[in-house]
């Protein structure tokens, strides 16, 4: 399976810089864990951070000398054994994501996601759409969205930026077809109306810069009908 829809360059840069709002950053991290191409890009973008850090005019440290090695511990090497595994590694893989092209999501996100996508406690929003909120500290809203086959995937941002990562099933819109691992990172100027593909429900990890407001969802879903 190949990933064809990636994070936007500006999103990647902000992610590597550590400046993407928390919820968006969670979805970006999940995509990066699955996507060799974006992982390589992030590695390159971290060099930009290293360069800028190295060129910063230094502040004055109160403690000009590193504390004695007794304080720091004698040998950094044993840490290899006690130290956290590489993120994602050894964590219980999420079945839906484990089946995707690459690796599990980063460990902190894996802990946040339900173990089985089949056992999620969904909140029904109507018109073949369900939502499950994930608690995340910081800016933005994060959640899972389930859309019945052939139904419209609702907007989850409210004018702000939003990211949609497919975990199961697929959807399509004017910009193409989105399969597991693909992420929709569309400029808010692009008008798109994603529809879940027939045959299987589509489950996505979604984030918005501002907390989701699904209250207006029904109205928005019905809008095309009113327009008739």
């Amino acid at each position: 399976m190949t990933i064809t829809h990636h994070l936007d360059d500006a999103t990647l840069m902000s992610f590597a810089a550590g400046s993407l709002p928390a919820a968006l950053s969670a979805v970006a991290a999940a995509h990066v864990a699955m996507c060799t191409r974006c992982r390589r890009e992030v590695a390159g973008l971290e060099r930009v951070g290293g360069t800028l850090l190295a060129e910063l005019p230094p502040a004055t440290l109160d403690r000009a000398e590193p504390p004695a090695s007794a304080i720091w511990g004698q040998d950094p090497r044993p840490d290899v054994h006690e130290n956290p595994r590489r993120a994602g590694e050894g964590a219980d893989p999420i079945p839906a994501i484990a089946g995707a092209p690459r690796g599990a999501p980063p460990a902190p996100l894996a802990r946040l996601l339900p173990r089985e996508l089949d056992n999620v406690r969904w909140r029904r929003l109507g018109l073949g759409v369900w939502h499950h909120r994930l608690a995340v500290a910081g800016r933005g809203g994060l959640g899972l969205l389930k859309v019945a086959p052939g139904r419209v995937v609702p907007e989850h941002g409210h004018a702000g930026a939003e990211l949609t990562l497919v975990l199961r099933g697929s959807f399509h819109d004017a910009t193409g077809r989105y399969l597991p691992g693909d992420v929709a990172d569309l400029d808010e100027t692009i008008e798109h109306k994603p529809i879940a593909d027939p045959g299987r429900e589509c489950i996505c990890l979604v984030a918005s810069e501002r907390p989701s407001r699904f209250r207006g969802l029904l109205a928005r879903l019905l809008q095309p009908l009113h327009g008739l």
Partner: protein, 177 residues
């Protein structure tokens, strides 16, 4: 600098660590202060960053990134965790216990040095308005929206400046990937 890190990783070389500490400690502190934190907190976070460098040096794969890049990533994650009290979702780059730093191929280490030099050159050649959005993102920790507010330009302008800056940096690395 990658060499210093290797000495710390391989033989807990305290002299090498001291040099890393004195080079990066003050810069990490400055980095934290750019986020608007007070000097005492910035000092603590700089100490913690360097402490992590000491503890995890052996996990660092020198062939894949410079010491500065790795230290940046540690500081970035700490900044998100402590100053912003958010989850740092980003992984640290190239922490690979299975490939010790000592196994780095000299060719690769050299290529990495060259990559870093190219990034520096590309950054230096950016027009001011593109350089500015990069700095606001990496050093001040501002989101696209916050940069737009700060500069009083439309969000789309921030993103397109950033994309162009990125393309130039990427172009500089093209033959080394």
């Amino acid at each position: 600098m990658a060499d210093l890190l290797r000495r710390v990783a391989e033989r807990s070389d305290t002299a090498a660590f001291r040099e890393l500490y004195q080079t990066y400690g003050p810069r990490v502190k400055a980095f934290m202060m750019r986020q608007g934190t007070d000097a005492a907190t910035a000092e603590d976070l700089a100490q913690e960053t360097l402490f992590t460098v000491w503890r995890r040096a052996s996990l660092y794969a020198a062939d894949k990134g410079s010491a500065a890049t790795w230290i940046f990533a540690i500081a970035r994650n700490l900044r998100i965790d402590r100053l912003r009290r958010e989850m740092p979702w980003q992984e640290l780059p190239e922490e690979r216990p299975e490939a010790a730093a000592s196994e780095a191929l000299p060719d690769e280490a050299l290529a990495e040095k060259e990559r870093q030099a190219r990034v520096r050159a590309a950054l230096a050649s950016l027009p001011p308005e593109q350089h500015e959005v990069v700095v606001l993102s990496y050093l001040e920790g501002l989101s696209h929206g916050e940069i737009a507010e700060r500069l009083r330009v439309p969000l789309g302008t921030v993103k397109s400046r950033m994309r162009i800056a990125y393309q130039k940096i990427r172009a500089g690395l093209e033959d080394l990937r």
